[in-house]
Amino acid sequence: MTKTSRRIALACLSAGLMAMTALTGVAHAQSINLTYLIPSGADGVAVAEELVKSFEAANPDINIDIETRPGGSEGDNLVKTRLATSSMADIFRYNSGSLFQAINPAQFLVDLTNEPWQADVQASFKQVVTAPDGTVRGAPMGAAMGGGIYYNKAIYEELGLSVPKTWAEFMANNEKIKEAGKVAVIQTYGDTWTSQLFVLADYYNVSAKDPSFASRYTAGEAKFASDAAALRGFEKLQETHDAGLFNEDFGAATYDDGLRMVASGEGAHYPMLTFATTAIAASYPDMLDNVGFFAQPGDEADLNGLTVWMPDGLYIPNTTSNLDAAKKFVAFVASVEGCEAQTRAGGASGPYLVNGCTLPDDVPPAVSDMLPYFAEGGQNGPALEFLSPIKGPALEQITVEVGSGIRPAADGAALYDEDVRKQAQQLGLPGW
């Protein structure tokens, strides 16, 4: 090969490299382009697509591109990185409550306190997207969730059982189910986070007995191990294990297995958050009517109520390219039309936190079972993680130990208090 042809070949190679890399980037003409970052997953994407479609129909000059990110701790890292490097999407969906506090909202997010639509957002939600300086920085995205126990209605009918109001009734039901040769309580420690439900969903019962628990807990005065009401959550987990009520493969089964078992009647009870209703509807649509729901029973029937998890929030970072257009979209999601679009795409999984939003009449039983707790005279209250910034990261490991019979309840509660102490010190709270 001659020298010139080699030069030409090199030039062609580098030109080719440049040309290939220049292929990216598509230009849209004359409309406002926004990006909207959501956690991945087919159900969430479907809801976001429906919201964007309805919004774009009403605002033809605004074009919204949906981006996805992983969930869990990988997603937390990504959100923090993109906020810190000013590369966040124009609107993003993220958890409310303690995770919202962890992204430093006062520094990175646009203040939405004085938006007109805030008037229709329920106060219970505003409280979980309020930055430490007292400004509201988010809008509700999705429906409120309850933490409690899914049950298989077919098994209840077959054995003539009724929905328990107290823990004693619940255990009595479990005994009958076990005698009938069925799995009474499903546990799925293959996904460790599912092990926490007995403890976390018990919080309404704790607060009913001891309304000041959350504030004393944050101040470092109340402990899980020494507060009798709070300890009950751990004890309930141990009792169900000691009574031998679990499925045989509870150590290896996964969340998906748990949903299948409770939907198909392989097990009677599955403690879980009610967002699972959407997942059951997607995977086992024909068994959805078999699944009912009740709040985790407490020790007294008249003090029983539902522990509520707030939905994610929708936030606008300070670095948004077009604040007015982004605010328009957030206002749309927090309106009645926004709720309707969400129901159209994902089905109803619980009550919305925007006044005036209603659910269709044909909601699945697991959702309609949840509504009385939100109706007038019903009892519900937020989970502890929305009332206090401290949630120990090792709770799921501890509850796996307690639920597997490796560690007694009191011991587990004491270990959790120690875990919580470390986190409170990291947050720099007084009293620890």
């Binding site: 949906i66 990185t81 000013s86 998906d256 997607a282």
Partner: protein, 275 residues
């Protein structure tokens, strides 16, 4: 009897590698034929009915044909960064091995540091933003080159040590300039280790997940590994679609390997007797 005695170990090895490699692959293929409900069981069973075509259709068309964009992006990313890696690493390896200066120790330390110290995400993004390459494929290519360079340099340097210096000297006496010595004499002799580099680095770049996730935000920039998250999330996963996606993005590299297998193996053995 002697036949059995001679070959039993080989037969066991083939059987073991068959189990390790083929069984998971069979599981992937079986799952691509299943529907959502059956795939959620995640068992090793024969699919009820053939849902392959509808699965493929859904995977390819999801999120506005994202998988096609991702394939284009991943191909560009892999080809461009491996090309640059091979050229630069071979050059550095050649100079580092042939020319002894007092900076060699420092350079070798820096190369080792590149291998040992994990790259920090936020400062890298800050730097990329400063030179206007953040969120662009060019920038991602440079990052992959930077992350892969130390390993490739070490491979090349060790190999160049086996090429006699007399070859360079003969070329120089014949009137070759430095670039000619490298491109016309040395680089062709490096083919075996170049093949190794191409295979190892292509696999690493094509399968990279975290770096594109952080450095290449945006749907237009998706790479194939990121499309897996379309079907998988913390609380709900469509295993049939997930495995169809895995199969679709595993097959192209597999085909490339099958077709170029002869060249790869030939390159490795041809180089072994040269020099």
């Amino acid at each position: 009897m002697s036949f059995v005695r001679r070959y039993w170990l080989g037969a066991v090895a083939i059987l073991a590698s068959g189990v390790v490699f083929l069984v998971p692959f069979a599981f992937i293929i079986l799952t691509t034929f299943k529907d959502q409900k059956q795939s959620a069981l995640r068992d090793f069973s024969w699919p009820d009915g053939n849902h392959l075509w509808s699965n493929i259709l859904e995977v390819v068309t999801t999120r506005n044909w994202m998988l096609l964009t991702a394939f284009i992006n991943s191909t560009i990313l892999t080809v461009a960064s491996v090309t640059l890696l091979v050229i630069f690493a071979a050059m550095v390896g050649f100079v580092l091995q042939r020319r002894k200066t007092r900076f060699n120790g420092l350079i070798e330390f820096l190369i080792l540091a590149g291998l040992m110290i994990p790259p920090a995400v936020v400062p890298t993004i800050w730097l990329l933003q400063g030179i206007g390459l953040f969120g662009k494929l060019h920038g991602m290519i440079l990052i992959e080159v930077a992350y892969g360079l130390p390993f490739s340099i070490i491979l090349y340097r060790a190999f160049i040590a086996t090429i006699p210096r007399e070859l360079d000297e003969a070329a120089i006496i014949d009137g070759a300039r430095p670039f000619d010595v490298f491109f016309r004499v040395i680089l062709p002799l490096l083919w075996p280790v170049t093949v190794t580099n191409i295979v190892v680095q292509s696999v690493a770049v094509f399968n990279d997940f975290t770096n594109p996730l952080y450095y290449l935000p945006g749907n237009a920039n998706a790479t194939v590994q990121l499309t897996l998250y379309n079907f998988q999330s913390q609380f709900q996963t469509s295993y049939n679609l997930l495995f169809t996606n895995i199969a679709l993005i595993t097959i192209p590299p597999l085909l490339v390997f099958l077709f170029f297998n002869r060249q790869i193996v030939a390159g490795m053995t041809a180089g072994a007797v040269k020099g």
